[in-house]
Structures are given as C-alpha cells and as structure tokens.
C-alpha cells in the first residue's frame, strides 16, 4: 500500500523547490511528491494542448473515455513552466485540502 501523502505544512519547502525550478533536478523528497501528484487517475489529469507550436499552450482536461471533447481548464500560457506551476497548485489543494500559499504570494 502506498503511504505517500502531502503534509501542507511540513512539505512547504518542497513546494518552494518546485516553484523555483519546475523542470530539472529535484530533491528525492520532491521527486516522491511529484510521483504522488502525477499518479492521479487519468480521468482527472490535466495536459497541455498546443495552440501555437512552441509558443502557446492551453491547459485542458481530457475525459477518461474515447470520443469525448477536452475541457479547457485555464488560461492560454506562453510559458510551459507557468502551466506546470498552476497545475502544482491545483493538485496541492486537491491533495491537502488547503490552498498553497508561499511567501511570494503574500507580498
């Protein structure tokens, strides 16, 4: 049985680590957290739809069954890393029940 879970207080440093560098080298604990977040069921999984190749992406959610259209979740991004950060925030709230609030957000 998986024992992974996210602690909304103790794991805040991991959230900071991700926000600073969404892609690239991650600490072992952030890797564990990301596996938990990315392992959510396919039915709920967001992904990026290419609006303009290499330039613009829309965040969409695909239905789990074939034949259904996607649902647009948010704005059109011009930077993929911003989409990664927004999805992280969505998943943080879903898995911990609380909004992710970091120091930068309070300023």
């Amino acid at each position: 049985m998986s024992q992974s879970r996210i602690d909304p207080v103790a794991d805040l440093p991991l959230a900071r680590e991700f926000m600073a560098n969404p892609l690239g080298h991650h600490s072992p604990n952030l890797q564990r957290l990301m596996r938990l977040m990315r392992g959510e069921p396919a039915r709920e999984k967001p992904c990026l739809l290419i609006v303009e190749p290499g330039r613009k992406w829309a965040l969409v959610r695909l239905p789990g069954t074939r034949g259904q259209p996607p649902v647009q979740l948010g704005p059109v991004y011009t930077n993929q890393l911003e989409a990664e950060r927004d999805v992280f925030r969505l998943r943080w709230k879903k898995l911990t029940g609380v909004e992710l609030v970091l120091e930068d957000d309070k300023q």
């Binding site: 396919a42 992904c47 990026l48 739809l49 190749p53 290499g54 259209p69 993929q80 989409a83």
Partner: protein, 753 residues
C-alpha cells in the same frame, strides 16, 4: 477561447514513391467545412519551435493543386473472416455451430462468433455472446420471428471455452452450451440449455457466412467479437454432446463427415490472410482488417514457443473490434509524379479553414535506376518508425504517462481528433479496446501524427536533418526503411554517406543485412539518434504497408506479448529487441540503447579521445568542452532516449568515445533490459550507465560510423541559425564522409578508453 481543431485528414496509397509513379490521395472532412484546398509542398523541416529554424515549407507546382468539395468518409473497423458469395450455405434446415473461444470482453454487447445470416430477409442464425457475456444463439427461422436463446451464465474473461449451438428441425429443439476448458468450484461456467421452437419449417434461403461478425443490411459487418477463436465448425444437423466434442477435434470425425459444412484450421497459411477450410466444401475465407495470427490456441501446452514447430497448438486468431488495415476510402485526386522529380520529403497540405491536414510523402530516387549521377548523401527516412507510432494514442493514456514523462503531456489537435474518433486505428504502442497489445500497423489509413509539430522523437526531429542539409547546401536523396527492406544493398550502394533521423528504431532483418553489406563495402553511416536499430519488425508479404512488431521477452516496451506469442505471424521470425536476437546495435553503431527520460535533456562533455588525430576532422573549428547545451523542445542535445558505448555488448574496441553526456535528472531512467532485479539506483544522478556516448570508428573497409546516441541531437542542429557546435560537428562529419578518400585501416593496438 476556441481550441484549435483538426478536421481534414487523408492518406495516400503508400509512403514512398518513385518518380513516374501515380499517387492516390484519399481525404475526409471530419468537421463541417464544405471544401478544401490541396497543394504540394517540399518539406525542409517539420517543426515550428521558436528556438530553431521554424517550419520550412516550399510550395511546389503539381497538377492536382486546387479546390475540392469536402466529404466525410467512414472507416469500418473490426476484424472478421469473410467468404465469397458462392460459399453461402443453401438449403439448410438444421445445424450445429461451435468454436473454442477465449473472450476478452464478455458482457460488452452482443458479439458474434459464427453467423449464417441473410441480412435482406433477416433470417438465419448467429452463435456468439449475449449482452451479459453468456453463450447465446440468435435464431430467425424461415417465417418465424427472431429469438435469442442464451445459457444465461456469463463466461469468464480470458478462459478457453467450447461454445456450441444446434437446431433440430424434426423436433424443434435448440441446444446452446458452453464447456469451459478449466472448471472452478463455486464459479463453474459450464452450462447447457434446451429450448423448443418451431419444427419442420422450410429450408432457409442461401445464408451468407461470416466469422466473428454479422453482416448487416448496409452490407457492413458489425457485432464484432473480441478475443481468440480456435477450430470454428459448422455442420448441417443437430449433433449430440459427444459428437460436438468429436467435431472439435483436429480431424473430421467419420460419424459427422457427411454433414460437415465447414471445418476451419486457422493454423494453416499462417503468414497469409487466408483461412483454410478442411471440409470437402473448401469454404476458404479471407481475413479482413488484420486480426492477430500466431496466437496460442486452446490446446497450447507451453512445450513449444514457435508456431512453426507446433502449428496444431497455434490454431487461434485474436480478433478485435478496433482492428484496422485498410480504411478503403475513395480517392479524391491523384498525382502522376513527373519522371525527373527530385527526391525529397514532400507533403500534400489540406486546408479547410481549421488546422491544416498533411499527407506526408517520401519521393525516392527512380526504382532500379539508382547509381549514376546521384547525390553523395542519402537521408534514410525511418518510415518503419513512423508506422510503428502511426496514430499513437497519447490522449488515451495520460494516466501513467505524465509520471513517466516527468512533465505535463503536450497534445496537438491530431491527438484530440484521435481521441474523439477511435476509428483511425491504433499504433503498436497502444492496446486494443480489449486491453491486448497492438501487433500490426499499416499506412492505408490516415496517420494523424505524421505531420509537422508532432513529437521531436519522430518526424519533427528528423526534419532538422533536412534543414541542416539545406542550410549547408548539401544535396541529398531521401530513401525509406521500406525501400531498404525491399531493395537491400542496391538502394544504399550509390551513396557515400547514409544519414539516419533521430529515432531509427524499427528494423527488419533485410534492412539490417542491407546496412551491414553497405558498411562492409566502404559505406559511411551517420546515426544521429538514440534507441536505434532496436525492435525487430516484419512486413507482410501480401498486404502492402502492413508491419508487425512483437513486444517479446524484454526491452522497454508499452505492453508485453503473451507467453508463447513471441514469433511474428507475418514471417515466423522470433520477435523482440535485436539486442536479444543476435544483432546488438552496439556492434554496428558503436552504441546501444541505455536510458530514457522525457523531462529535460542535457549536454555532452568532450572526452580525451576527441583529441585523437583520427577525430581531428570531427572537431575542426569546435574547441568547446561542452557540446549541445541547447536544443528545441528539451533544452539539450542529449536526451529523450540515449545510447552508450559498451565493450561487453559488442561495441568495437577501436572506436573513439568522443563525448559523453552528464547531468541527467532522475527522470532519465536506465532501460529495463539493463538489470535483472529492480533497485533504486537507475536514475540519471546515480547510474553510471545513464549517459549518451558520441562515438566514431572506422569500419576497416574504407568506411566509418559516427553515432551520437541521443534522440535530442537532431533537435539541436538548427538552434542559433545553425551556428552551434552540434551543427558544426555534424557538418564536419558529413563533409568528411562524402569525401571519397578512404579511412585508413587502424593498426591493432590496446583499447584507449
């Protein structure tokens, strides 16, 4: 915001064509646009990433260019056996139908196993599974309304069972039964039901025969069965229980011989699309939409793994309701390729006002006329790779894929269209609708992901090689995997240098032999990729454009072949990764697959061997210690899938390891064929085997091999206007490889690495 939509798609009657040949183009409008514009483009790149050279499309005049009325064309998926009309069964009054089946989706609607059904009059019978997954008979006697008689007991998924049904016209008794091969206490699925219906009715009109489907009034086949079928039988009288068992034997029993109407042995003619009837009627059938052959039968013991050695245990065919070989669309227009038309990558662009559709074509040099005044360079377009990935259903599998990729999935409008329209068929990376792996693929259907701006591990990355050749003003021909398979060495012989794309992953034995022969005769090979020469494939001998892969035994793979099903049905060859079949890529390329990771790429660091005088031409004008710390898509030249030099795997000991990648993340994971037991030290920060090695060696026959060992290499070529060390190294190697001066023989000396 309106999301981008792809609504116009098409395909041609091949991927590779020679000048003078005629191409047919089949097009379908998937939206509501009334017309579309068709035009021909020469493609000099296939990717629009802003960090590289952009999408370079050169309009080319062609007679077909113009505006066409758009129409929707349907695709009929699902495999079955059809029979000629003269095999319709006439004068039938009573019957027994039976087969061993291994159902994979019992309970998913009515599924037909054997049908004798006259759609026009709605008369006949069909043996199959009812909506609840129980063996059942649909029966419409002459002058009677249709009845369904079911055992009422659902079959178990993936368990062999003999199902049977009979009608006795004298007594009016219908018997429907199911006899599982294995029986379990408490959950026994054996059942027989008897039912009285009308008797002494007139004979049926001639009944068209079909296996695993029922012909509808629209002349379409529906109610497809998912699963394996073995030993289907048909008889013109109601048989007793012992006679049903006898009829399920390998030979026609004497006591029923006079009444047998069909006695099929699916193990015969395995490599063809024919199914053979051993009865005197010779009701041979034809497989439609390529169901999977070479499958273990109900009687497979496990003693033999090769269907050629024990064909009697491989009498099963696995049918799927989403099998597709040929979409069979009508052509919208054709094109007679002019006799002197230049070789290259081309595309027909279809513009209906939404996202444009593309039909990609590779124009090769003239057939049987290669030699003479050809360019010195051939780009080997990896069409086998494009076929293996044709209609890769990324959107159907984000479940595990994001964790695998280590970043959000990116989908294009083609992925959404595939997700919304399952009928385009799947790639060999997908599962059928019943969860079994897809072994076969073909190009006689729209390949939605063979277009610009798709994955950099495919056409989008390969296009950067074309862009580099154009930028450096280096003339080239385009040849394809399929051409190499068919023409062998004679295709390669005219060229001084053959260049691959970023991911030449799929190779038939004939392709390997052609390349080996080329290198033995002074040929020079530039392998600009990763995970190359990896999977064994087979092409069908009768069906153009059909290709097979078995995900056997080991290797990094999207699904695993079932036990006993490692041998390819198209040829009887043992399938799987070449590393395990005696053609390890390290031997020919110097490197072989070692790791994959899709989050970010990294760079190479120059190694001491780069200073060897033998490598001086490679690094002319390149002093950098770090190579390729940039690239389209993944930010580096070493990434996605990478290969390493390894003497223990057969890498030539005299090869120079010029540079090696470093700083991979833990998402770059060691390939699973590299370890026997799982452990945690498989990521890029821990495993010393996770690296891409750039290798050069002379073949000893005047030729040489240069390998980069990374899919991401090609996506770095066009950065900074091609003014970068990846492009410089690549051009240096090309220029030396097209120089006729032979590479000197290397004296034997100790390995320097």
């Amino acid at each position: 915001m309106k999301l981008p939509e792809l609504t116009i798609v098409g395909y041609s009657n091949g991927l590779s064509f020679a000048p003078g040949e005629t191409v047919r183009f089949m097009v379908s409008e998937e939206g509501t646009r009334p017309d579309y514009q068709a035009s021909l483009l020469r493609m000099h790149s296939f990717d629009d990433d802003p960090t590289a050279c952009g999408l370079i499309e050169e309009p080319v005049s062609a007679a077909f260019e113009g505006r066409y009325s758009a129409r929707h064309q349907d695709i009929e998926t699902g495999s079955h056996v059809t029979f000629d009309a003269d095999h319709a069964i006439a004068g039938l009054r009573a019957f027994t139908a039976q087969a061993y089946i291994w159902p994979t989706t019992p309970g998913r609607g009515w599924q037909t196993v054997i049908s004798c059904w006259d759609a026009a009059s709605g008369q006949g019978f069909a043996l199959g599974l009812d909506e609840n997954g129980a063996a059942a008979l649909r029966l419409a006697l002459p002058g009677q309304s249709e009845v369904v008689i079911s055992t009422g007991l659902a079959l178990r998924e993936r368990e062999w069972v003999l199902i049977h049904a009979s009608y006795d016209d004298v007594t009016g008794e219908v018997v429907v039964g199911q006899l599982p091969r294995l029986r379990f206490p408490l959950v026994d699925t054996q059942a027989v039901v008897r039912h009285l219906v009308a008797k002494e009715v007139p004979a049926w009109p001639p009944l068209p025969l079909a296996i695993t489907a029922r012909q509808s009034r629209m002349q379409r086949f529906d109610e497809h069965f998912n699963g394996k079928i073995d030993r289907p039988r048909l008889c013109s009288r109601a048989l007793s229980h012992p006679a049903v068992k006898a009829l399920a034997g390998a030979t026609i029993p004497d006591e029923v011989a006079a009444s047998v109407l069909g006695f099929w042995d699916f193990a015969r003619d395995m490599t063809s699309v024919r199914v053979i009837d051993l009865s005197p009627w010779a009701r041979h059938g034809c497989l439609v939409n390529l169901p999977t052959r070479g499958m273990t039968g109900f009687n497979w013991t496990g003693d033999e793994q090769d269907w050629r050695r024990a064909p009697e245990q491989y009498g099963a065919i696995h049918f799927h309701d989403d099998d597709l070989y040929d979409a069979k669309w009508e052509a919208d227009f054709t094109w007679d390729i002019p006799p002197q038309f230049p070789s290259g990558c081309y595309a027909v662009k279809l513009e209906d006002g939404n996202v444009p559709g593309y039909i990609v074509l590779f124009i090769r040099p003239p057939r049987h006329a290669v030699g003479g005044n050809r360019p010195r360079i051939a780009f080997l377009a990896p069409t086998a790779h494009y076929l293996a990935y044709a209609n890769y259903r990324l959107a159907d599998r984000p479940g595990v894929s994001e964790a695998f990729r280590g970043r959000l999935w990116q989908l294009g409008p083609e992925d959404l269209l595939m997700h919304q329209r399952p009928a385009f068929g799947s790639s060999t990376y997908d599962m059928h609708s019943d969860g079994s792996g897809v072994c076969y693929t073909s190009y006689l259907r729209p390949i939605l992901n063979l277009r610009p701006n798709t994955r950099l591990a495919s056409l989008a990355g390969d296009g950067y090689v074309l862009a580099l050749l154009r930028h450096a003003d280096l003339p080239y021909d385009v040849i394809t995997d399929e051409d190499l398979h068919e023409d062998g060495l004679s295709l390669l012989a005219p060229y001084s240098c053959v260049i691959t794309g970023g991911h030449p992953e799929y190779w038939s034995l004939a392709m390997l032999h052609g390349m080996e022969g080329y290198l033995q005769r002074g040929g020079r090979l530039m392998y600009l990729g990763g995970n190359g020469f990896y999977w064994r494939i087979a092409f069908h001998r009768e069906l153009k454009g059909a290709m097979e892969v078995r995900r056997s035994e080991d290797g990094t793979r999207p699904w695993a072949a079932e036990p006993g099903e490692y041998y390819m049905s198209f040829t009887g060859e043992y399938g799987g990764i070449w590393r395990r079949i005696g053609h390890v890529p390290n031997r020919m390329l110097g490197v072989g697959f070692t790791a994959q990771g899709m989050d970010v790429a990294t760079y190479y660091r120059r190694q001491p061997a780069a200073s060897d005088p033998r490598a001086a031409f490679i690094f002319a004008g390149v002093q950098d210690e770090i190579i390729g710390d940039f690239g389209a898509g993944f930010y580096g030249a070493a990434g996605q899938e990478i290969d390493r030099f390894d003497l223990s795997l057969g890498s030539p000991p005299h090869a120079l390891v010029l540079a090696s990648s470093e700083n991979h993340t833990d998402n770059m994971l060691l390939a699973n064929e590299e370890f026997c037991s799982t452990h945690l030290a498989v990521g890029g920060t821990e495993s010393p085997l996770v690296r891409a090695d750039m290798v050069f060696f002379e073949t000893g026959h005047g030729g040489a091999v240069f390998s980069t060992g990374s899919i991401s290499w090609v996506a770095a070529l066009a950065c900074e206007g091609f003014d970068n060390n990846v492009a410089k190294i690549t051009i240096n190697v090309i220029r030396r490889f097209i120089d006729p001066a032979e590479f000197p023989r290397i004296d034997d000396k100790p390995d320097q690495h």
